[in-house]
Amino acid sequence: MPGYTFAEKALARAAGAATARAGETLDVRPDVIFSHDNSAAIRRIFEKIGAPRIAHPERMIFTLDHAVPAPTTQHAQNHAEIRAFAAENGIRWFEVGRGICHQVISEEALVLPGQVILGADSHSTHFGWLGAFGMGVGRTEMAALWATGELWMRVPEAMRVTLTGRLADGVTAKDAALKLIGDRGADGGDYRSIEFDGDALPLLSLEERMVIPNMMAEFGAMNAYLPPDEAVFNYLRTRGAGDFTPLYPDADAVYSEHYTLDLGTLDPQIALPHSPDNVVSLREALGQPVQQAFLGTCTNGRLEDLLAAARVLRGQRVRCRMVVIPASSEVLLAATQDGTLATLLAAGATISTPGCGPCMGNHMGVPAPNEATISSANRNFKGRMGTADAPIYLASPYVVAASAIAGAIADPREYF
């Protein structure tokens, strides 16, 4: 008998089964479920189900993050409904400005290694950074989870991705993720569990590790997993986490594909419009004009990302508008206290409320037709930022900052 993948172990545990194999359909009972500004819409579906009550309010989390502070009366009404429903049902929720769901739930240590977390958001793969099984679900699925506490899931096959070597200066985990997606395509993950290993992982900071599973949503992954180590356990413990049992795949687990990437040979990457797998080496895109630079999102809106931008922008002036949106209030506070924010502001960038900002085109940086944006986000589909004919380039915070200075796609290493 071969060993088990992480996904097989995590889903068996959450389904109360002794073991599970890829291909089996299980009723899984997640440890944590969350939704964001879509919670009011989920509530309307929940009410149609006719369940007498919410099965497990203590497992639920709401964050107000996708359009915050409310840009219109309609959005405000939506937020008001969510606050009222949370209060009525004793559901934990986070107010406008606290930050983006994935970041806030991580900072609050509300999900732990080995657990299953299902979010009404496609980037719920994010939680693989701490060794949890994170998966995005639709609104009806989330309403079903409120009503019953469980959901049907097909145990996925798994792909192993081995990262070796050490990143060169100016090259980041974002570049590694873009490279993988570019090489294998937007459906390269094929709704499998993408399980990482390799000697590069312990060398990555925790914030860098968060980027990789977050981006795996663009790879078509069901979930993504990094083996958690002492650095992760410390992060969680200092944030008040209780006991947990991390899960690791067996050495003889079955993987349907094995991909290896030497981070030491990697150079900066960029995704060209209009797909995150339209990836080339940064040098092939240098000089393309941009009218807006956007630094933020659940992918690259953390302190290290702001620090990277500040390193490039110190003593420089941006030539195009640059919108900076910290991923959480904690990030904003830290960047205020350590002077990072002052550096960014002095260079001519502007700052907005922690949250998703213009990432999905709601507000706070929607481009005009034909204006190009260089963004640290994860997704550059046509129309993603709210305007159909507005090209979006995806790259690391370094590249975003350098391009803001040049008003065109630029190599950050020239500013080091």
Binding site: N78, S122, V137, G138, E141
Partner: protein, 166 residues
């Protein structure tokens, strides 16, 4: 066997063009949602699609967001079957949960152009396209039960009404 007019699209059609994200918190009624289906990709679909029409696509149909409106916008336009070379996993789940059938058929897109027709034998699990017959994989029994109930919502409604009011 039923006959359906088809709308044919490429690989990697994403949820942002099927239903733009900017509408996700503002449009609520089925008619409003249906009115914007595919508007950034194919305004002709938005204007002319009829109930019973079938979408035929290449690989990775519905990649991107988990938003269900990318399924319901089409369903409210009367599309209840989507044939693709492959689907994004999240999108295929959303289809089942909404009572829309995702059919995997790698050849369909090469054989068909928008405006052509295909024949579908749901019970027999076959597609008839330009004289060629293609069998498609059936759903697993527990997933089939959700689809047959019309989706996850009607299935749960039945379950909770059978349990009686609290």
């Amino acid at each position: 066997m039923t006959t359906h007019r088809v709308w044919v699209y490429d690989d990697n059609v994403n949820t942002d063009v099927i239903f733009p994200g900017k509408y996700t918190y503002t449009l609520k009624t089925p008619d409003e949602i249906a009115a914007h289906a595919l508007e950034d990709l194919d305004p002709r679909f938005t204007a002319e699609a009829q109930p019973g029409d079938v979408i035929v696509a290449g690989r990775n149909w519905g990649c991107g967001s988990s938003r269900e409106q990318a399924v319901t916008a089409l369903k409210y336009r009367g599309v209840t079957v989507i044939v693709a070379a492959s689907f994004s996993g999240l999108y295929a789940r959303n289809c089942i949960n909404q009572g829309v059938l995702p059919i995997i058929c790698p050849q369909a897109r090469e054989l068909l152009s928008t405006g052509d027709t295909l024949d579908l034998d749901l019970a027999g699990g076959t597609l008839l396209i330009k004289g060629q017959r293609f069998a498609f994989a059936r759903l697993s029994p527990s997933v089939q039960a959700i689809y047959e109930a019309g989706g996850l919502l009607p299935m749960l409604q039945r379950r909770f009404s059978d349990q009686g009011a609290p």
